[in-house]
């Protein structure tokens, strides 16, 4: 580890902390329907869209209506995306002449983008037409992100409103998020990326002759626009197969920094939106702090593991950290940092190959994902995910002060606990359940590149990434087989909707409750004690669930390496 490496990490953290308040303030105004800087530009478009959809910004929905609207919208998005892929051969904007995508791959990809996962069992430049990339994938990158944020806002309303019945209007939240937040930021970011050298063209791939005289086809396309939303919406699906390790998708240290910042920006700001909407920004900061503690712990271990390097390589007389699978323009610190950010935030974009990380540092992205993407997390998903943990933490700890547990004045009772447990339960069901089947299924085991614990980690990582809607791949696993396409698709679907529905049910239940005024008998949920408690509950609940799987995967691999064994 170097001072320079740590400085880069600290600068990054500083930028995020500075962004939280202004962006949070702006987003709060957007979702409250207050006037913002951009209102004059978009207000007509916004009203027009509502008229078109037959709704109005004054119309409010019960949680069941809200959920139904959301599910309908996601299903429609899935069908459109599936059909676009299957029919792309006959559709325009297909200069490379891509044929129809296989049904199982099209299913996997459609689920993947609708659920904000962006798991990619395809290579973008060799499978998808420009039309699919722009009208299919990029559109879902926007609306799946907006959907996630809408859910978080709905859940916040559950806490902030009292004795009500409605939690907002899905169509309004979706529209406002896309129009006022995602679209303007992405336009700016796209221009910046183009300036930094990222291609943005509808032209054909470029043929070049290399110095050796060989012919090479260089893939280009509308990269910058997809790159902007890929990060901002924590989607992570790369235009190119190697994602942000590709020089066209991440040319230099500046573009790398912008990408890392935009992954966390909205998720971090949402904690402030939460604080503002419940009337106490410190509540938001406490949640942000809990996320921050987990994040810094992850970065420290990951950076340390990579910087320490491989003892077997050291034995050969080669000093230094582990550079395998990394881009020299980013180096160890920024590769480790990027890996932790992208898995903490459910983004899944990569600028280095996680498969090549040391066992112990490769375990950090895995753990981040296993915890359910609550460390900043996917846009919206991170906040509602951590609020589910908050409910469990408050329930157990709240009892210890001798009162029926309450959070922000709302009593946490059987219904909330039931829904939170349901959501927490569905993740290991998909992650561990599918891994357990795949590891004893010969055809599934055949897909892995390495034997032993490392191969096990590849399978475990795939299902964990899918169910947590992260989308990053450990690498090494050949995922484009019917078995993986279908089971990973189911995993992503479970991880998204089996969490969303309970979260909205909690919002619906909370919104009906009275707000109990705070007193000396209620323990404060904005101090370090609460932050510590929340971190502890996340680690213990998550850790206990996955300890056996981690033991036979990265832990045993790490211990074996110490004894000179590799797999």
């Amino acid at each position: 580890m170097t001072l320079n490496g740590w400085l880069q990490i600290l600068v990054y953290c500083g930028i995020i902390i500075l962004l939280v308040k202004p962006l949070g303030g702006y987003m709060t105004r957007v979702f409250n329907g207050d006037r913002t800087l951009l209102s004059p530009v978009f207000v007509r478009v916004e009203r027009g869209l509502y008229r078109l959809a037959g709704t109005s910004e004054r119309e409010e929905q019960h949680w069941t209506t809200y959920t139904a609207a959301l599910l309908f919208f996601s299903l429609a998005g899935f069908i459109v995306l599936y059909l676009l892929q299957r029919l792309q051969g006959g559709l325009p904007f297909n200069p490379a002449g891509m044929g129809a995508t296989e049904p199982d791959l099209a299913f996997n990809t459609a689920v993947s983008f609708v659920t904000n996962t962006n798991w990619q069992n395809y290579g973008g430049e060799s499978t998808m037409s420009y039309l699919v990339q722009m009208a299919g994938l990029t559109v879902q990158n926007f609306v799946s992100a907006a959907t996630g944020i809408a859910i978080a806002i709905a859940l916040i309303r559950g806490f902030s409103r009292a004795s009500g019945t409605s939690i907002g209007n899905f169509w309004v939240d979706l529209t406002r998020c896309t129009l006022y937040i995602l679209l303007p930021l992405c336009i700016v970011l796209t221009l910046v990326y183009v300036y930094l050298g990222v291609p943005q063209t509808l032209g054909t791939y470029v043929d070049a002759t290399t110095l050796e005289g060989a012919r090479q086809t260089i893939a280009v396309g509308p990269v910058a626009s997809q790159l902007a939303i890929k990060m901002l919406g924590t989607n992570g699906g790369g235009f190119f197969n190697v994602n942000s390790a590709h020089p066209f998708e991440n040319p230099d240290a500046i573009s790398n920094l912008i990408q890392m910042v935009t992954i966390f920006a909205i998720g971090a700001a949402l904690t402030n939106v939460f604080g503002r909407m419940v009337g106490n920004q410190r509540q938001g900061w406490a949640i942000f702090a809990a996320m921050g503690v987990l994040f810094l712990a992850g970065v420290s271990v990951c950076y340390w593991g990579e910087a320490a390097g491989n003892p077997l390589v050291h034995a050969l007389g080669i000093d230094g950290g582990n550079m395998e699978g990394k881009e020299t323009r980013f180096g160890i610190a920024l590769s480790a940092l990027f890996a932790v950010i992208t898995t903490a935030a459910s983004c899944g974009a990569v600028n280095a190959m996680h498969d090549s990380f040391m066992a112990i540092s490769g375990m950090i992205p895995l753990i981040n994902t296993m915890l359910g993407e609550v460390i900043i997390g996917g846009v919206g998903a991170g906040l509602y995910g951590i609020l589910l943990y908050v409910i469990i933490a408050v329930f157990v700890a709240g009892l210890m002060v001798g009162r029926t547990p309450e959070y922000l004045g709302k009593k946490i009772e059987a219904k909330e606990v039931k829904m939170a447990m349901l959501a927490v339960l569905c993740l290991p069901l998909a992650m561990l359940g599918f891994t357990a089947v795949a590891t004893v299924l010969p055809s599934a085991v055949a897909s892995i590149a390495n034997a032993g614990p490392h191969g096990f980690s590849e399978i475990l990582y795939a299902y964990t990434s899918a169910a947590a809607n992260n989308g990053s791949a450990f690498g090494g696993l050949t995922g484009n087989t019917p078995w993986y396409n279908i089971t990973l698709g189911i995993g992503m679907w479970m991880g998204r909707f089996f969490v969303i529905i309970p979260a909205l049910a909690i919002a619906g239940s909370l919104v009906m409750k009275k707000t109990v005024p705070e007193s000396a008998g209620t323990f404060p949920t904005h101090g370090p004690l609460f932050v510590g408690l929340l971190v502890g509950v996340i680690l213990i609940v998550g850790g206990l669930t996955f300890f056996p799987a981690l033991a036979v995967g990265p832990i045993v691999e790490h211990l074996a390496l110490g004894l000179g064994q590799t797999f």
Binding site: V401, T404, V541
Partner: protein
């Protein structure tokens, strides 16, 4: 019942039957009420069947498997034992209650005017029947006194041997079946059918026969069931992980891991904690009609307390003597004492005492003074004494002034005599002086009592509501708990404000009526607060029913007792504060043991995971940080620890985690440290110790 209060935890009369009870509770119908322990029983049964198959077919390491199975069953039995002990304590109390419910003969009257009666067995009485109860008779069933006054021994239910007065009308009209009339007679209208009397309900309550899960208990059970399912996933997926690595793990080891991981500690003790909470109230001589009420007590935000009896002593006392100009304190003290010598009210006695202690005037004997006592009447609103031709009166200021004016006018008409000149002495200046003194007293929350001797105004006695010692500290403590106290009083706002300030309550309701009491409760509840109150009169019934925790005094009316969800057998309104503490203790004990239970899992993983995978991943031996001797001893130690910790925590679950009024944040920090951090550390030590013992015994 007072005798059984001291039933200690280790009383063999409770422990021995509880052992039998533990086996009886293996009945699946009773086990299913507790999801966590039901799951343990199911997997224990499964492994037992597998073991028996192995015995027949000749499997390997039978001794080890047998020990694991033994401890699995012990885990279930220990949980049942905990519940049986908790219930046993209630049963002991129920038995002593049952003894009082002996067969009684009732003297049935055919109408209210009936002079004769018919003897019928008490069990045949119907609601609405009229009975006569005379000195020495046991009251046959619950009822309401319609005629008569009698002293009644209620020690059967309260444990208090001093007799209480029961009379028709008013707030002391309720009588309880099983209590005994000591003197005089009562005519009683029966209000409860056989089998549903107060004592019957008490028996059912303390036995826990009607125990239903409380809302919070249900929520906690969901959490525990959810944790159990998570660990089903965590352990059920291990065989395929092992198969991938080319190994296999015996079912009994998986079961051992599973049972140690799921929250058996809290699962086993959960119902014992609930029963013990009710029981703790009973030991306080408070009967909660439901567990829900006990829980609600812990959540109370606002406490309505009656001023009289709770905040102040029931009666006012003289604290000061304030003469008008031209009169010495000594003079006033002398007159005030003389006027009060025969006054047997607490106020009167306090005047005599004050004159004696502060002014050294010894109480004199009425007889030797040839004094004639003039008692208080509602018309004159004064009392006093006529002595040697002079007359002394004390009373409400306006009454005394009216008396002075009247006698002055009377004197003017009569003309002459000793009294004639007196009236003129009550100059307007003296009257103003008197009034300003009494206004000051009223402002300070006291009651002024004017004293006049032969038409001459002497001064004012300051009668004061004496706030109970230490009550201020109690309220400060409640504030620390986050509870707002509201004093309820019939006094005027001025007096109420002064006493409220002295006692340190947060708010008061002056000139309280049943209506504005009820609306105060509704108002608080609409703000999301939970309200507790106590009351005894029929006019308290609506408020008692509306409050989240309504404590009815046992001396109160039937209506009040029906409306409340708790009954205080000692009729001590101060107890509300303890009741809140007990409610909090119940919730805290649940939370603490849940935290402890979950925190324990870390050590158990470190014990079992390396042992489990040792055959094919020997590298994982590095995780054996406790240095446990063999894989078998590691697994066995974990499961033994898991079973024994249940027994070790029975006393805590029955006694409850101590509540301290130190503020929620400090309390949470403290409990997290003890039960969270302690829960992480204790099993590391415990498992290691058990490992040392069982390896030295050669068990594994």
């Amino acid at each position: 019942m007072s005798q059984s209060k001291s039933a200690s935890l280790m009383d063999s009369r409770i422990l021995l039957p509880a052992i039998g009870g533990a086996f009886k509770k293996l009945d699946p119908r009773s086990l299913i009420r507790n999801p966590v322990m039901f799951v343990v029983a199911v997997v224990s049964l499964l492994t037992t069947v597998l073991f028996l198959k192995d015995v027949v077919t000749g499997g390997q390491s039978l001794g080890f498997t047998f020990q694991i199975i033994l401890w699995l069953w012990f885990t279930v039995l220990f949980a049942n034992f905990a519940e049986a002990v908790a219930e046993g304590r209630g049963k002991a109390q129920a038995d002593s209650l049952r003894k009082t419910r002996t067969e009684t003969q009732a003297k049935l009257l055919s109408s209210e005017k009936d002079t004769g009666f018919k003897l019928v067995p008490g069990t045949r009485l119907k609601v609405g029947d009229l009975v006569l109860v005379e000195a020495g008779d046991i009251i046959p069933s619950d009822g309401e006194v319609i005629e008569g006054v009698a002293s009644v021994n209620e020690s059967a239910i309260t444990g208090e041997s001093a007799p209480v007065i029961r009379e028709s009308g008013g707030d002391r009209s309720a009588v309880t079946g099983g209590t005994q009339v000591l003197s005089d007679w009562l005519r009683v209208r029966i209000t409860a059918a056989a089998g549903s009397t107060f004592i019957d309900r008490m028996i059912a309550l303390v036995e826990g026969a009607q125990r239903q899960k409380t809302p919070n208990e249900i929520a906690l059970n969901i959490l525990l069931a959810g944790m159990t399912l998570i660990f089903v996933l965590a352990t059920a997926t291990i065989p395929s992980f092992a198969a991938y690595a080319g190994g296999a793990i015996p079912v009994v080891v998986l079961v051992a891991l599973f049972v140690t991981l799921i929250p058996t500690t809290i699962g086993a003790l959960l119902s014992a904690i609930g029963i013990a909470g009710m029981d703790r109230l009973i030991q306080f001589n408070v009967l909660a009609m439901s567990g829900r009420a006990v829980e609600a007590a812990g959540d109370v935000d606002t406490l309505l307390l009656d001023k009289t009896g709770t905040i102040t002593f029931g009666n006012r006392q003289a604290t000061e003597l304030l003469p008008v100009k031209g009169v010495t304190e000594q003079e006033l003290a002398d007159a005030a004492q003389l006027a009060s010598l025969a006054d047997e009210t607490p106020e009167g006695r306090s005047i005599v005492v004050l004159a004696k202690e502060k002014y050294g005037i010894r109480a004199r004997d009425m007889q030797t003074l040839h004094a004639h006592f003039v008692p208080f009447t509602a018309q004159s609103r004064m009392s006093g004494v006529d002595i040697d031709g002079s007359s002394i009166r004390k009373g409400a200021v306006d009454a005394v002034l009216a008396y002075v004016n009247q006698s002055a006018a009377g004197a003017a008409v009569a003309g002459g005599g000793a009294v004639a000149t007196i009236g003129t002495r009550a100059s307007s200046e003296t009257i103003r002086d008197l009034q300003s003194i009494s206004d000051q007293i009223a402002k300070a929350g006291g009651t002024p009592l004017a004293v006049v001797r032969d038409g001459k105004l002497l001064g004012v006695v300051h009668l004061k509501d004496i706030v109970k010692g230490g009550i201020r500290e109690r309220f400060a403590e409640l504030r620390q708990m986050g509870i707002r106290t509201v004093m309820i009083t019939g006094d005027n706002p001025l007096t109420a404000a002064a006493i409220a300030a002295e006692a340190g309550v947060d708010d008061f309701l002056a000139q309280a009526t049943p209506e504005n009491k009820l609306s105060l409760i509704r108002d608080e509840q609409s703000k999301g607060k939970l309200v507790a109150m106590c009351g005894d009169g029929t006019n308290d019934a609506p408020a008692l029913a509306q409050a989240d925790v309504g404590v009815a005094m046992n001396t109160g009316t039937v209506a009040a007792r029906e409306a409340g969800n708790m009954v205080d057998l000692d009729s001590d309104p101060t107890k509300l504060i303890e009741i809140v503490g007990i409610g909090k203790q119940l919730l805290m004990t649940r939370g603490a043991l849940t935290t402890f239970s979950i925190a324990n899992d870390i050590a158990k993983y470190f014990a079992i995971i390396p042992a489990m995978f040792l055959a094919f991943y020997p590298q994982l031996g590095a995780l054996n940080i406790m240095g446990l001797q063999t894989p078998q001893s590691a697994i066995l130690s974990a499961i033994i620890f898991n079973a024994l910790i249940i027994v070790a925590l029975i006393p805590l679950s029955l006694k409850g985690v101590k509540y301290r009024a130190i503020g929620a944040a400090a309390l949470l920090r403290r409990n997290l440290l003890i039960y969270g951090l302690g829960g992480v550390i204790v099993p590391f030590v415990g498992i290691k110790a058990i490992d040392v013992v069982i390896t030295s015994l050669g068990l594994a």
